[in-house]
Amino acid sequence: MPKLVFLATDIVLYLLLVAIALYAWHALRTPTLRQTWRTVVRDPAAMSAAVVLGVFLLISVFDSIHFRPLLPPAPGVAADAARAYSTRTLSLLDALLAGPRESREKTYSVPLGTHQYSKESMLVSGKTVRDYPRLQFGGAHLKDTDREWAGDVAGRSIGGLAGGAVGAALIWMTVAALRARPARIPLRESLRSIWQRTTDIPWRPILLTASLLALFIGWVAALWAYYHVFGTDQTGNDVLFQAIKSVRTAVVIGSLATLATLPFAIAFGILAGYYKGRVDDAIQYLYTVLSSIPSVLLIAAFVLMIQVFIDKNPQMFETGLERADIRLFLLAAILGITGWAGLARLLRAETLKLTELDYVQAARAFGVSDRGIMRRHILPNVMHVVLIVAVLDFSSLVLYEAVLSYVGVGVDPTTNSFGTMINSARTELSRDPAVWWNLLAAFAFMVTFVLSMQLFASAVREAFDPRARAFRPHRSKPVASAATPLRGAATSAVAD
C-alpha cells in the first residue's frame, strides 16, 4: 500500500469540490437559484465550455491525489522490517501517465520526432561522426525512420482517430438512450431531436465538443506510447505531459486565489455598507491603500518575503514537492489578500442599497440583531455579486500567473505551470531553428482553458445580472429598426 500524502493545495482543492457539490445541492433545492442556473444550462457556448472545463477539472483532481510509492523490499532484509517509501511524491496522474513521464530524452526534439534537435558526436562503426542522434524513446520502434515514419504516424493517427470516433459515438448513444428512456421515445427519435436542436438542454453543441475532445484524446493516446506528441523540452521531458501537469497549477491558482479573496471581501464589504460612518471610512481607507499599490509590486513584495521565510526554515518541508507546493499555496493566498478590494467595493455598494430596503428595515424593527440581519438578509442577497466576480476573476488569475512567473515572483521553478513554460519559450524562440512546440503547447492549453472559463463566466453573469443580458450580441439578422428601441426600453426598465 503506498503512503498517501496530502499537500496543502490538495486539501483546499478537495474542500473546494465539496463546497461546489454543496452549492449545487443548495441550488437544486432553491427554486429561484434553480431557475437562474437553468438559463446557464440552456446557453450552448457555456455548456460546451463546461465540458472542456470538466475535463480540465478531472485532470487536476487526478493530479491532486498524491502518494509515495512503496519501495520493493531490499534483498536480505527481514520480512517484518519497516516499510520503505520512495522519497518522490507522485500523483495519480503521474502514475497513469508513467510512460511519457519516464521516457526522458536528452534534450529538445520536435513533435513526433525521431531524432534529437541538436547534433552530437557519435561513434559509428569505429569513426566519430557528428549527427543528430536517434531518440531513446520517440519512434524507437522504427528501423528506417526516413521511409517508415510518415506511414507509421499516419497509420497510428487514423487508428487513434477511429478509436476517438467510436468513443464519441458511444457518448452520443448513451446520452440519446438516457434521454429516450424517461421521455418514452425511440432512440432514433431522441438522436434526431438532439441533432435538430429541439432539446431543452443544448445537447448538440455539448456532444460536438465532447466528440472533438474524444477525437483528440484518441489521437494522442494512439501516438503517445511511441512518440513525443508535442516534442520534448530542454531537459528532454515530454512537453505534452508538462502541459497536462500545468493544468492543475492553473486550476489551483485560479480557484484558491479567488477563494482567498472571499472572506476579506465579503466581511469588509458588508460591514462597510451596513454600519456606514466610521467603520465605512476605515474600511475604505484600507482598500484604497491596498489598491493604490501597483499589484505586481505588492505581490512581488509579499513573495520576496515568503521566499526569505522558506529559505530560512528549510526543515519545515520534507520533500521538494512539499516546498514547491507551499509556495504555490502561499502565492494563491497572497493573490487573495492583495486582490479583495474590487469585490469589497462592489459588495459595499450593494449592501448600501439593500440596507435601505423595506425588508431590512422591517427586520431591524422586529429587533433582529445586526449580525442576524447581515447573515440572514444581506449576505444571501449579495451572493450573486460574489458568484459573478468569482467566475470572472478566475480566468484573469490564470493569465496573471504567467506574468508573475515571468517577473520571477510566480510559482516555484520546479512546479509545472503555463508561466514557466512560456518563460522558457523566450530563449527557445531565438534559437535556430526555433523551438516552437513548447510555446505552442502552452498556448493551446492555456487559450482553451481561459476561453472556456470566460465563456462559462459570461453566461453566469448574464444569468445572475439582468443588465448584462441586454448587451449580448445577437446573431440574428436586423429586424428593421424597431428592435433597437425595444431592446433599449427593456434595458432601462431593468436598470430602474
Binding site: 491603500v289 499599490i293 512560456i422 470566460q454 445577437h474 433599449g488 434595458t491
Partner: protein
Amino acid sequence: MINYIIQRIGYGVLILIGVNIFTFMLFFTVNTPDDMARMNIGGKRVSQDAIEKWKVERGYDKPLFWNEAAPGAEKLTKTIFYDRSVQLFAFDFGPSDSGRDIGYEIRKRMGPSIALAIPTFILGIFVVIVFSLLMVFFRNTYIEFWGFTFAVFLMAISALFYILMGQFLFSRVLKLVPISGFAGGWDLFVFLALPVLIGIVSRLGSEALFYRTMFLEEISKDYVRTARSKGLSETVVLFRHVLRNAMLPILTSTVAVLPLLFLGALIMESFFGIPGLGSYTIDAINAQDFAVVRSMVFVGSALYIVGLILTDISYTVADPRIRLG
C-alpha cells in the same frame, strides 16, 4: 472647488502614509535586515561580520523606530524608519541596495517609459473606440457577432504570447524591426513600433467589449430616440450624438490611468529592452533589491492617488451637474 481639492490632496497624503507604513512593516519587521543581508550576499553560510558590514554600508544598522543612543530629536531621525520611509515624502529615495542613487535612476528612466506609454495609450484608445463603434454600428448582424467573438478570443490570450509571437514574426521571420533595444532620434520609431502595436492588441479585446457596452447603454437613452425620430441618419446619431456623450465617461475613466503611464509597462519594457521604469522594477525584483522595490511602490501609489484626484476634478469639469463640496 479649491477647498475640495485641498481636502482630496490631504486624503491622498493620508493614503500615502498608510502605504508607507504598510510597506515598511512588510519589508523590515516580517524579515529583519539580517535576513535581507543574508539573501543579498547569498548562500547560507554568511559570516556575521559580512552581514554587519552590509548593513552598515546601507544604513540598515540603525534601530527601526526609536534610537535610544542618539541625543534629542535624533532619537527619531536616526532610525531606519526615518531614513527609508519618511524621507520618501521629500522624494529622497536614497541609495539602492546595490549602492546607486534611486532618484537619479528614476529621473533618467522616466523618459523611455513615457516614450513607450504615451503612443500606446493614445493610439490604443483610438483603435478601441473605432473597433467598438463599428461593433455598435453593425449591431444585430454577423459582423457584430464575429467582432464580439474575436474580442473574446483576444481576451483569452496572455500578453506574453502576443509579445513572443510578435517578436518572432516581425523581428525574426519578416525582419522588419529589431527584436529589442532602444535609441534616440529617428531610430526611436523603429524600436517602439512593435511594442506599441503589441501593447494595443493585448488590451484591445477587453477594452473594446467594455466600450461597446458603454456605447450600447448610451444608445438606449431618450435623446438618441429623439434624434432618430427627428429623422437623423444612424451614422449621424452614432458619431455626433452617441460618441460625444459616451466620450465623457471614457475620458474621465482614462484620466485615472494617465499618471500611471509614468510607471511604464513592466513586461513590455523588459521584453523589448527599453530602459524604462518597468524594466528597472523587474530587474530590482530579480536582484531582490528591496530599496528599489520600496521606492517604486511609493512612486506607484503616489501616481495612483494623483490619478484619483484628477478623476474627481475631471468629473466636475466635464459634467457641470456634479458639484463637489
